[in-house]
Symmetry: C2
Subunit: 278 residues, 2 copies
């Protein structure tokens, strides 16, 4: 059976697979994406719950649930009890791994983003303690109820290795330097609302984007599947089959409120047919 | 400052804490709860996504996202790629830990249940392979698209240690034998719908339950916060303050559809004032 370009190159394919999506018919405007480091920082910034991997007494892995707060450096603050298995584990061996998954409930969560940090989780130093404490209480208001219990301590997990997985076949390692320097997408808290609004009320604009900017002039329908500071991911239906495409904003959005103006401008360009000129 | 009975005994309290909830004023009917083993099996049965803890080459912990399928024994089926970090980790060292968290999105997820299994994840034996494969494809339909890729293999994680945490101060270890023998709560898939319905349409019945069966005759409001095969957890407001209470079904429910009849019967008993006779 023929190998097809739809399958990530790094899979060892035993058998026939789905046909590739139909190619674009017209040139697509360049549509930048978030870098893997930006993806990682965006995941970190938009959740407060993660899985923590630690080591039990005999060096076996132990996975548990923790709340965390992100710090501007991309390190994370944990508040763990030595009464919990993971707290005792970290007292013995500070090596730790934190996994943060895209927090929406999805039918297939493996198709969505997640991040693994690996490093050490050690008590906050005196001069970083107050910043860490305030960051934690801001992220986890319920911690007010237990932070003064004597068995809880404030730890900082400093990542030495960063791995981002965007879904099936999208993944990358990120250097700790790139990770520390990257910015979380500031529009992420407004993304779901924008997606729902575009699909509910602006189906026509989405089709025009797919037809005139996205390379699929034969689009019959176009659904917004993701939006970020740099553009919009569309799922397009054509007489030739289904295809993903992406249309980019002229300028990156810097706040959730900016998504609207960026999208309106994109719709204007699509309507005016400013397809490949930009 | 006085120590109060509201704080789990095992916390080392440094400082004053919230006052205890007001005690019941009348005897409460005995209201059984799910055992820790049943809690663990219920969590396992009601999700397909978990965090996996494995060991990297130097024995450090590595946390990642996986899909899983439960088997009747409480073992879990994983399908992992050797292209993924966790797949390579398990090829080197089969020790693994799986953490499953209550899958609802909560403001404070740490107040809700989670389960950690620890054991080894090894390739399914020839005579268990087909059962494992079918269980996985049933739980994770998307696996149809990748199960034939040569880099994926079917593993079974057999728990040697089981730890359940129900929320703040509710936790227990479960023996592997009790875990293997316990049944998941068959009503769990219908619980959220029942909770929403009771709170939206049956506030009066809930107050009567709290007043006449739950030990709080001075209840002003009563909200259903959880329902399971054995009964209903209520959050009660009284002139003396807020309190939790629980009212138990006469007979355990065996299916999501049974919750309605059990609740109707409980409401009837509450209305009839059959409080402490049962």
């Amino acid at each position: 059976m023929a190998k097809t370009p739809t399958i990530p190159r790094d899979h060892d394919i035993r058998d026939e697979v789905l046909p590739p999506p139909p190619p674009p018919l017209t040139p697509k405007r360049i549509a930048p994406r978030r870098s893997p480091a930006e993806e990682a920082r965006t995941l970190l910034a938009n959740s407060t719950v993660a899985a923590l991997g630690t080591l039990t007494e005999d060096g076996s892995p132990w996975a548990s649930l923790v709340a965390y707060a992100p710090l501007p450096s991309g390190s994370t603050v944990l508040m763990v009890s030595t009464l919990a298995d993971h707290g005792r584990n970290l007292e013995r061996d500070t090596r730790a791994s934190l996994m943060v998954a895209h927090s929406r409930q999805e039918v297939d969560q493996l198709a969505h983003g997640r991040l693994t940090l690996q490093g050490t989780a050690t008590p906050a130093a005196e001069d970083e303690r107050e910043e860490a404490r305030l960051a934690y209480l801001k992220a986890i208001p319920a911690a007010n109820a237990y932070e003064r219990f004597g068995d809880f301590s404030l730890l900082i997990l400093r990542p030495e290795r960063v791995r981002w997985v965007g879904g099936y076949g999208r993944m990358d390692s990120v250097t700790p330097e790139d990770y520390a320097a990257a910015e979380a997408d500031p529009t992420a808290p407004g993304a779901q609302r924008a997606i729902d609004h575009l699909n509910a009320d602006h189906a026509d604009a989405l089709i025009e984007m797919a037809r005139n900017l996205g390379g699929y002039p034969d689009s019959l329908t176009a659904r917004c599947v993701a939006i970020d500071r740099y553009g919009i991911d569309l799922a397009v239906e054509t007489p030739r089959g289904h295809a993903p495409t992406r249309v980019g904003f002229e300028e990156a959005a810097n706040a959730p409120e900016d998504l609207r103006a960026c999208t309106v401008e994109l719709a204007r360009q699509a309507r005016a047919g400013e397809a490949v000129t930009a």
